[in-house]
Symmetry: C2
Subunit: 318 residues, 2 copies
Amino acid sequence: MAIEIAVGIDIGGTNTVLGVVDREGNVIEEGAIRTTDFPVVEDFVKALSGVINDLSGKGDYNLRGIGIGAPNGNFHKGTIELAPNLEWKGIIPLAGMVEKSMGIPVFLTNDANAAALGEMMFGGATGMKDFIVLTLGTGLGSGIVVNGEVIYGHTGFAGEYGHIIMFPGGRDCGCGRQGCLETYVSATGIVRTVQWLLGEMRDESRLREIHTRDLTSRIIADAATNNDPIALEAFDYTAEILAYAIVNAIVVTSPEAIFLFGGLSNAGSLLFDPVRKYVDEFIQPVFKGTTSILPSGIPENNAAVLGSAALAWKEYSK
Amino acid sequence: MAIEIAVGIDIGGTNTVLGVVDREGNVIEEGAIRTTDFPVVEDFVKALSGVINDLSGKGDYNLRGIGIGAPNGNFHKGTIELAPNLEWKGIIPLAGMVEKSMGIPVFLTNDANAAALGEMMFGGATGMKDFIVLTLGTGLGSGIVVNGEVIYGHTGFAGEYGHIIMFPGGRDCGCGRQGCLETYVSATGIVRTVQWLLGEMRDESRLREIHTRDLTSRIIADAATNNDPIALEAFDYTAEILAYAIVNAIVVTSPEAIFLFGGLSNAGSLLFDPVRKYVDEFIQPVFKGTTSILPSGIPENNAAVLGSAALAWKEYSK
């Protein structure tokens, strides 16, 4: 009997990754093309369709839908809009183009919303109706699920916790404003924090030996594990700001859990312990103990493809 | 032919107001009892049921449902939980008690969520799927609608924008913490702001002649209308903080509109003009111009009853 499959696609600035995913979240086939090889989007759609046909023809598969995670993805319109890291400028109706080429339903959203759907269908949020996924990579992405549905909002661009302003007049943000959460809480945010602390503190630190251009959240985590005082302070500072964002998120949607995913969250207890401590300290009493702060239940290497495939499965099941 | 009706009930610390409301939002009958006359909740339910029977027997009515708005109301459980302004202590399963007494479905939520439902069914949010209502009274209440549904969250207590922490270590809040939005943006918040500004500024002001105990947001609005420098500064400061809260709310749920209701919002353009100016200035570019800041479309004197009735109609229609 044919296996029902969805194809999950993650479009990144450099690479586009594809996976054939069954209803249980097994990635059965995998493929990839270089996004940068196709400066013209029509050529990209042609190449992408070729790989989809190729992958979904490798077994006795019944293709039910295609999900795409993309930067600045608009779920309502199926468009990629003004994505700074892609060569295709303006508003690209990508879902429609792929749907036309493939003849089956195609759904598109941004990477963090896809991650939330992956968490709900195949990860730690199975059975939850209210939760949030925060992806702590170069920036901070978020997917917010309420009543079992991702919040897309009126515009299709909702769920941008990375761009809540934590400190008016604070750090310059890529969005053109200042003080956004992602300038503090992300893999690059903690590097900026270390740069600041190197000036603030007088403690000896192995981080002083590294050119700041070469600093990564991984190096900072390693230093913190070795009790480097500046690295420890950087994690504490990051955790405190994240905790304020989390307690403010809790009073808004009262989620059962908040999942931290990717990049900075790989620091494990270095991040989770102080975040949980500060959340307990800052939380409004009525919400105390009602939200778990958890690591993602999705393996990071497959997360993007699983999330996009989950979007296809969710819409197919409606 | 019998008219289909719902009964909307608003439970306040002093009075409980009831209204018979048809599907178009007309308040056909009205009634009230004093909440404080019934320190025992069983007696309250008995008296309340009497008034409901009385009102719904006044015409050829077909009673379809009962909606209750109450402080600390939990939609999921139909309970009032630890409400500081009511004499009934602990967790009161009020919806169940009234349902048992009346024999028809009873739904319960907090006042701000009810206000959002009233706005959606009978007010300015007709046809909107994503919007927020902020009630600016003694505190700041909020009802958040996403995908056409009020956000109740995992606990049933979601939608508390009044308790997002704007300034860690800021003003003491009734919730036991510091720096919550409602300590700045509410009818009492702007009084606190004037008290602070009377110390900060040296300008002459008629507000200096009034005992701070007697200050109200109405008096401050009147002074601002007469170009009182401290009153004007108080509105500007309040609007700036509210604008930061609003732009942060916009990136989260991307609403089509945010409605300001009650108390402080009655100051009209004194509040709306600077709020809109600051929102335009602070907003993330991708969301610019996508959210309208509007006065509520519900008459304030009927708002509580209409909101509670809307809850009953919404659940009945499911």
